[in-house]
């Protein structure tokens, strides 16, 4: 079995230097919004619980502030995203909260909204260019992946064979998470990756592919997954094959929480989806009223929290209760 590892160049956005990048140009005149009272929240498919949480958190926060909210999905498709943003512009949106479909590919669409005077706040996944969105609350995927990777290494006892399930490889989140995992795991020579497959962020695909991977490598004792649905699919396949494996992922959904409590998964990194989304609305509100976001830097990294059997019972809808 040859070892295959598609590693990529380190992304420029990784901490800590990004925090020091220059803030939005203060000289430029503040955007006024499109004229209406509507805030658009545009995310990937609601089939992933995290995006549903984001959309709902925006709705809740914005409606409390007196805005109307329209929730739209771009299905991780740049073309669809461009069309949706066009619609938002035509609709005279007051602001846009966007969990974008691709760091580089989304810049033009967000610039178009800016040209139409509509402020956009990016949440979760970063945008490649600065000065286009008014603020970016970026989920620190790299830190989150590293945090669970540490737990993975410990649970594996620093040795053994493992497989990795990747999300859509065209997306930055997939690359950065994989990078975070490997920057920790690759330090241990006795941890060997024997398979790496794309499962498109999907549970069913992950289940089917994991089943096949286990046929070729029945001695696997760990699975590293790019998101929760894939981890759940992998867990189902391992359970069926009678294999007890250490399974980690990044997301922090309720489904992963339940799997962790049931002993079928080991850990997940919770992204502060709810907090990012409601903060984004507050930023738009403040910006429209005062002409400033209140943050020094455009890009703010929001750290993830590792969820294990120790704290899983406190997790609900991307919020960890005290």
């Amino acid at each position: 079995m040859q070892r295959r590892c598609r590693r990529r160049k380190k992304r420029r956005q990784l901490p800590p230097e990004s925090a020091e990048e220059s803030a939005t140009e203060g000289t430029e005149e503040a955007l006024k919004g499109g004229g209406s009272n509507i805030i658009y929240v545009i995310t990937a498919s609601f089939a992933t619980p995290m995006f549903e949480t984001e959309a709902n958190a925006v709705k809740e926060t914005a409606e409390a502030l007196g805005y109307e909210v329209k929730q739209v999905s771009h299905d991780d498709d740049l073309t669809v995203q461009a069309e949706v943003i066009d619609t938002a512009i035509a609709d005279g949106a007051a602001g846009i909260v966007l969990d974008n479909a691709g760091a580089e590919g989304s810049v033009a669409a967000v610039q178009k909204a800016r040209d139409a005077g509509i402020p956009t706040v990016i949440i979760d996944r970063e945008l490649a260019s600065d000065g286009v969105a008014i603020a970016q609350l970026v989920s620190n995927n790299y830190q989150g992946a590293q945090a669970v990777a540490e737990i993975f290494v410990e649970a594996m006892g620093e040795k053994g064979k493992y497989a990795e399930l990747l999300g859509k490889e065209t997306e930055t989140a997939c690359t950065v998470r994989s990078q975070g995992f490997h920057d920790v795991i690759d330090q241990y020579d006795e941890l060997e990756m024997v398979a790496q497959e794309t499962a498109n962020w999907e549970q069913t695909t992950a289940y089917e592919k994991m089943g096949t991977i286990l046929q070729a490598n029945p001695d696997i004792t760990g699975v590293v997954c790019g998101n929760d649905p894939m981890a759940l699919g992998a867990a189902a396949a391992c359970k069926e094959a009678g294999i007890k494996a250490v399974i980690i992922s990044v997301d922090g959904s309720n489904e992963a929480r339940d799997a962790i409590l049931a002993g079928e998964m080991t850990a997940t990194a919770m992204q502060e989806a709810s907090i990012m989304a409601s903060k984004a609305v507050n930023i738009i509100d403040k910006y429209l009223k005062e002409g400033a976001t209140g943050y020094d830097d455009e890009k703010v990294l929001i750290d993830c929290t590792a969820i294990t059997a120790d704290n899983a019972d406190k997790l609900n809808n991307f919020v960890l209760s005290e």
Partner: protein
């Protein structure tokens, strides 16, 4: 004379062309990965093959009539969501304010009926409004996917085990196995047998071929073209519903994006099996071999660790190559018939 003999040999070789491709693939993957030909691995491949195969059998009927059904992948997702939702939340009848929970056999029947109804709508739109099958089922593909998402607002139903006190447990058994043979493989075999018998030995089978061969001529000779066309789409819908039930039962979770793009795997299996996209020609046996080719390529490449991107490229090339051979065979067939004719005339 000599020429004919040479052609006959070639002809016989080509008749089993897809089977030949399958054999080459199996030998290749077995050589590359020692785990490929183990019993558990073969069973695992067959489970995946069965899913594409069941969709492919429904699709074979549709394509023989000269149509296409793009909605099957979405129907897989929708039936899973409907079945999962019925187990989890039951059916709430709002005016009465009551919630009914069905037992698993009833849920299976409801889900299959749903597949049939979707096929009925497809068939109705195609036959009554003269809409091209590609367009009608493309529309249904989107509608069904949208409905699947709407059912749970996009969320996944996890752990659909049912409730002991409501008597709706046991859904996961559909995805279980009999001895070492998974249920999905048995269901696949049963559907394949029935579909094959209907196609070969019943008037309905003859009607399906004649609709695809020449719809006008068959109408004139008394075949109820609209009825037959509607029936094949209903059958395809039911096949998709079966796959939807099985995938969600295997995973004990229903995911609204499940089955995304599977219609293309089904169409590939059918085309690899020698069924003509222009209708009138096709066999269930061919589709089964086609499904095996797709399944073996998918699983084999994962097992030997080919990158996802190359997997797509290679799969595409194999599909087109198989059809090129198919066309070549058709030409050869025509030439041989012509030569035989002229020879008979000379004699």
């Amino acid at each position: 004379m000599k020429n004919i003999n040479k052609n006959t040999v070639l002809m016989n070789l080509m008749r089993g062309r897809t089977f030949f491709v399958l054999l080459v693939l199996v030998i290749f993957f077995a050589a590359k990965s020692p785990a490929f030909l183990t019993v558990s691995s073969i069973i695992s491949v067959m489970r995946h093959v069965a899913l594409y195969g069941i969709l492919g059998i429904g699709m074979t009927y549709v394509i023989i009539t000269g149509g296409i059904d793009l909605s099957v992948g979405s129907v897989v997702g929708l039936t899973g969501m409907i079945a999962g939702g019925l187990i989890f939340q039951g059916l709430t009848i709002l005016p009465l304010g009551i919630t009914i929970y069905f037992n698993v056999p009833t849920i299976v029947v409801i889900s299959l009926a749903l597949g049939a109804i979707i096929g009925l709508i497809n068939g109705f739109i195609i036959t009554k409004f003269d809409v091209a099958p590609f367009i009608a089922t493309l529309g249904m593909m989107n509608v069904a996917r949208g409905l699947a998402m709407l059912r749970s607002n996009g969320a996944t139903y996890q752990n659909i085990a049912g409730y002991e006190e409501l008597g709706n447990t046991g859904f996961h058994k559909i995805g279980g196995s009999l001895g070492i043979i998974p249920n999905v493989v048995l269901i696949f075999a049963a559907i394949a047998l029935i579909a094959s018998v209907i196609l070969k030995f019943t008037p309905l089978g003859w009607h399906i071929f004649s609709v695809g061969g020449n719809a006008n001529a068959s109408r004139l000779s008394g075949v109820k073209v609209q009825k037959v066309t509607t029936l094949v789409y209903m059958f395809s819908g039911v096949c998709a519903a079966v796959v939807g039930l099985i995938t969600s039962a295997q995973l004990t979770a229903a995911n609204p994006s499940s089955g995304d793009g599977w219609e293309m795997n089904a169409i590939s299996a059918v085309v690899l099996g020698g069924t003509s996209m222009s209708g009138g020609v096709g066999t269930i046996g061919g589709t089964i071999i086609g499904a095996f080719v797709i399944g073996v390529i998918n699983d084999g490449m994962i097992m030997i660790g080919v990158s996802e991107f190359w997997q797509k490229v290679i799969k595409g090339i194999i599909i087109v190559l198989a059809v090129i051979i198919d066309q070549f065979q058709a030409k050869l067939h025509a030439r041989m018939a012509l030569m035989q004719q002229s020879q008979e005339m000379n004699a």
